[in-house]
Amino acid sequence: MVMKSSVDDDDAGWGLGIPEKMRNNVNWVDVTHEFKGACKELNLGELLHDKLFGLFEAMSAIEMMDPKMDAGMIGNQVNRKVLNFEQAVKDNAIKVRDLSLPELIGIIDTCFCCLITWLEGHSLAQTVFTCLYVHSPDLIEDPALKAFALGILKVCDIAREKVNKAAVFEEEDFQAMTYGFKMANNVTDLRVTGMLKDVEEELQRKVKSTRSRQGEQRNPEVELEHQQYLALFNRIKFIRLLLTALIAFTKKETSSVGEAQKLMAQAADLLSAIHSSIQHGIQSQNDTTKGDHPIMMGFEPLVNQRLLPPTFPRYAKIIKREDMVVYFSKLIERIKTVCDVINTINLHGILDFFCEFSEQSPCVLSRSLLQTTFLIDNKKVFGTHLMQDMIKDALRCFVSPPVLSSKCCLFNNHQAKDYIDSFVTHCSRPFCSLIQIHGHNRARQRDKLGHILEEFATLQDEAEKVDAALHGLLMKLEPQRQHLACLGTWILYHNLRIMIQYLLSGFELELYSMHEYYYIYWYLSEFLYAWLMSTLSRADSSQMAEERIAEEQQKGRSSKKAKKKKKVRPLSKEITMSQAYQNMCAGMYKTMVALDMDGKVRKPSFELDSEQVRYEHRFAPFNSVVTPPPVHYIQFKEMSDLKKYNPPPGSSDLYLAASKHFQQAKLILENVSTPDPEVNRILKVAKPNMVVMKLLAGGHKKENKVLPEFDFSVHKYFPLVKII
């Protein structure tokens, strides 16, 4: 809020209010001496203040002359004049024509670095707009620099629009403020790409004319010039490709996404040439006066200092040129990956795509592009499919509900149609939100997942009611068929996935203490994964029932013998993976209990809270879910009580059991026919843990009281247990 008002008020408040106060007709009377004298009379620690002004208000004051809080201080201490673009041009401090090639290359590279720094969450005022040239490209006479300045403004403008539209950013990801700067809005996108193209062609001619000819004695100066022209050419081409790709993303046709992907690939090809020619650009000079920000022609880090709100990060650290190319190549890779989403048609596939993409912690721009590619103008998926149809397809693939089968009498039944259509319509918003959640940064996702459970609980309720109504209808029309818990199973499946992800992400975000691991893993293995597997197998049998009916109907119609081929069940992979995850969690749970028995888990001395308080806090979002019902602490304690076994297991029994779980996980995963990276990652944890647990079961280092280490570097949810 502070940021907003400070800028909005720029014209209204500041212009009018201030001169009035500063005008000489207000008589200022110096009271310095008396004031200071009077202050000395006050007691130590005594505050003289208005009744309405207390210590609390005093706390929120910014402290002047404290470099951390006082943004104005820096600008004042630098021993140089901070000039804006017009002033700099007038003072001849900056060239607008006849720039040398090294100058152009250096300015462009610094701009690229600023662009990246902005995309990484700093403000435009402290990054891209520290470049004076972009303040008003109209003043630039050099055609290459002018086209580039416009190009980078357009890139910023489109990127900002995309990020704003996707709305998957928080203040830590992105600063959308433009501080009233013009983002080259008076020129069309097409005009800018045209200008860049012209410059490019001109440069290409220069590159060709300086190229070495056969048998010619090479003049080193000409060779250097050739290299520099080539370097500039590559940079101009790069910004043009980047801009054209972003423009392609703003189009509504799916084909333009493929075009963007091609453009990004072309841009990627330029990167190594850009990298190897960085040294051709001029470098910034370090300001010796204050060990200050590096100064470079065309850049003034402090030019916008007074636009910033009082409390704001002082300097944005602009990334190094060497890192720029690496960042760009990763960015391009991410954008290319984003383009692949259009090849996934099934809603579950898309959801998995979003999850997987998010796991690499991608940047805000690629996350936003993914969102805007998925749902164009918030209506149609990829601009072509209705969300409702996507949901119906997903339902068909997952549980094959009779109501959605053309072979079932419900398919053309009015009432049934109304039921299912209204249910699907109600589903579309929560599912869109779910996909949007996966576009947020990892830390924010967790919180949002907790909240969306409420919406899914409502859907669950509706699904069960619709199932019951449809079943009632079906019993009258086709008594041999059933419509039991079809929609309910599907929603439950998503519920469970969200809950599991909520818990697991706590490991990734390092939220849990070691002494909490055991109940988290317990909840996952004994409860959520158990539910997930039974849900998946119910969906699987529902699919099979539908297939059987379809087969029978086919047999009835034609005498062709139905081929008895053994098809791979569509859900088998997911069931297998869930089994593996469950075993991993169970192994970790038993490990933690056993380690605790041996006194190898450090527990806090609960003074103000208790384990129950922590437990309830950890699972609080699950309270809004009806199915599966939340397991309360008391229930958990009863269910996990070891005394119910006779004789109660000791730590070595538990280590052995844990080892078996890890072994089981290993066996399951080794049988996966096409192991993906995730399978391999789990295997890398399962194998060593299995061995370590076996050793511990045999009494290895039992007397050793050194606490074990949990290493999450291989897998973010399952640690390697290390006994030192």
Binding site: V2, S6, D10, W28, V31, K36, N43, L48, H49, G72
Partner: protein, 102 residues
Amino acid sequence: MAPLQLEAPSSSQARQKLEGLLNKNMRIRMTDGRTLVGLFLCTDRDCNVILGSAQEFLKSSDMFSQGEPRVLGLAMIPGHHVVSIEVEADTLADAQCFRGSH
């Protein structure tokens, strides 16, 4: 508190003077040449001053950056950075005259 009441008359007089200035417009020049204008809200023995709705003006010698001030809001100026303190004359007159007879 009792001890406060029993203090020397000069001390309570000083306190009164300062209280008379509360919520008055104040202009403070800092050691680095900047000037802050805002409402006087609070001070203490070390002459740390808190101004409300403060605005920052750069030193007048700086021709280029002069012009509009920057809004700071609530700002605390440490006593050792205070160079001079001024109050608006007309408000001073209302406030039963800080300097006494003048």
